[in-house]
């Protein structure tokens, strides 16, 4: 889980072109949207692509986004759960 969260931070920075943000600047439980990192609806769509591209997971319903993408940890937990389902 720790490695997954560390990887996710690097992937997020890259996918969203977050200039001058380093992985260590993003807290595991820091809210990604609104406060915290201040991401918006377009970023949410980018994160959906990130899940597909790096983790082979497709989200059909963008409305699930806010829960999955709440923080790096919730993303990691979601990915771990999905991978377990995939077997």
């Amino acid at each position: 889980m720790e490695k997954l969260m560390a990887d996710l931070k690097t992937q997020i920075i890259q996918q969203l072109n977050l200039q001058e943000v380093k992985p260590e600047d993003i807290g595991n439980d820091q809210p990604l949207f609104k406060e915290g990192l201040g991401l918006d609806s377009i970023d949410a769509l980018e994160l959906i692509v990130l899940l597909q591209q790096y983790h082979n997971i497709r989200i059909a319903n963008p409305e699930d986004g806010p829960n999955i993408f709440y923080s790096v940890r919730t993303m990691a937990e979601f990915i771990t759960a999905e991978k377990a389902k995939q077997g």
């Binding site: 996918q15 969203l16 072109n17 200039q19 001058e20 377009i42 980018e46 692509v49 597909q52 591209q53």
Partner: protein, 349 residues
């Protein structure tokens, strides 16, 4: 219809802070913009979602608004021939190589032509009229004309109008295949006498007001476009009647500034008309400073506004005769491929 220019801003291959005292020369077949630090105008959180052409447009528009002492324009109108090439290229690349899978929204959103104008409005929180023209070498001129039409309805307003175009590796590669460019040095480009020119890019914006005041830097006396004239003779006739509509003869123009770009055929066209209407008169050029691109006349216009204020033209800009001692009326005549001609008449005020 005329307007007063209250402020200008330019981002180009030249350093606006020192031009024309210091002129940058280039060798090769393109003149790239030396990107300024865009963070001085754009917040780091927003900059990440802005392609280069958007940053250029936002930067130049901010410089012109600041120059005019204006925070909220009454309209934002711009022109771009190519639009947002970098993101269009990124999206097309992914479309093809990823076979329409896992494409990214940011590249798509940034690819749309009105993104620059939209972003300027978004950053200013400006709800006013907002338009984008995308018509090749007439993009700037239509933006200016739209501004003049708005000011005709509301003379007390101030309109932000400008243009931007960029070069990307893809676009340069493709345009080169049309035989447009050649290897040259800007210092000798205009005397080269061979086919081809050097590519350029950049953004320039102007704040136009319906009413003159102490901040007015110059007057945009008139703007016209001429599409596919049959011959240089027709162009000369149209140029003459454009001047007549403003009560002027060619001899009343203190300086003619042309869009000469070093391409032999295109430059010969300028020569033909100059010899018929402006024989013996001083002529200047600007594309050896900024390169050739469809909205390059915006750089020319910026250069002339500065010259009118300083009442001085850089020696390096002159291609025929000597820089005139007095600048009251300057005519910019630019053409692209001899098919698209624009006449922009500027006056001291």
């Amino acid at each position: 219809m005329k307007a007063f220019i209250q402020g200008t801003g330019s981002i180009s291959a030249q350093d606006s802070n020192v031009f024309p005292a210091t002129i940058r020369a280039y060798e090769g077949n393109r003149l790239p913009v030396a990107d300024p630090d865009y963070k001085q105008w754009i917040d780091i959180k927003q900059i990440r979602r802005m392609g280069r052409v958007i940053k250029m447009g936002v930067g130049a528009s901010h410089i012109s608004l600041q120059d005019a002492g204006l925070t909220q324009p009454d309209a934002i109108i711009m022109g771009t021939a190519y639009g947002c090439l970098a993101d269009t290229g990124v999206f097309l690349n992914k479309l093809v190589t990823q076979r329409e899978d896992m494409l990214t929204p940011t590249a798509f959103i940034q690819s749309t032509h009105n993104t620059v104008g939209g972003q300027i409005a978004l950053m200013l929180g400006c709800h006013a009229y907002n338009n984008t023209f995308v018509h090749g070498a007439f993009s700037l001129e239509n933006a200016l004309q739209d501004g003049l039409l708005l000011l005709r309805e509301n003379p007390s307003h101030q309109v932000l109008a400008g243009a931007v175009d960029e070069i990307t590796d893809y676009s340069h590669s493709i345009l080169s295949r049309f035989g447009l460019y050649k290897q040259a040095a800007t210092g000798a480009l205009l005397q080269s006498g061979t086919p081809g020119t050097m590519a350029g890019e950049g953004a320039a914006f102007f704040v136009l007001a319906g009413e003159r005041n102490e901040r007015s830097q110059a007057e945009l006396t008139g703007v016209e476009m001429l599409y596919k004239p049959a011959s240089p003779e027709e162009t000369a006739a149209q140029l003459r009647s454009f001047l007549q509509r403003h009560g002027l003869q060619p001899a009343d123009v203190d300086l003619l500034v042309t869009g000469r770009n070093g391409d032999a055929k295109g430059d010969a066209y300028y020569n033909t008309v100059e010899n018929s209407l402006f024989a013996g008169r001083p002529v200047a050029a600007f594309k050896h400073f900024c390169g050739e691109y469809p909205t390059a006349a915006a750089f020319g216009m910026w250069m002339v506004v500065k010259a009118l204020q300083a009442q001085q033209v850089a020696g390096e800009a002159m291609v025929k005769g000597r820089a005139p001692a007095q600048l009251k009326r300057v005519l910019i005549w630019n053409h692209q491929h001899t098919t698209h001609h624009s006449f922009i008449l500027l006056s001291a005020c």
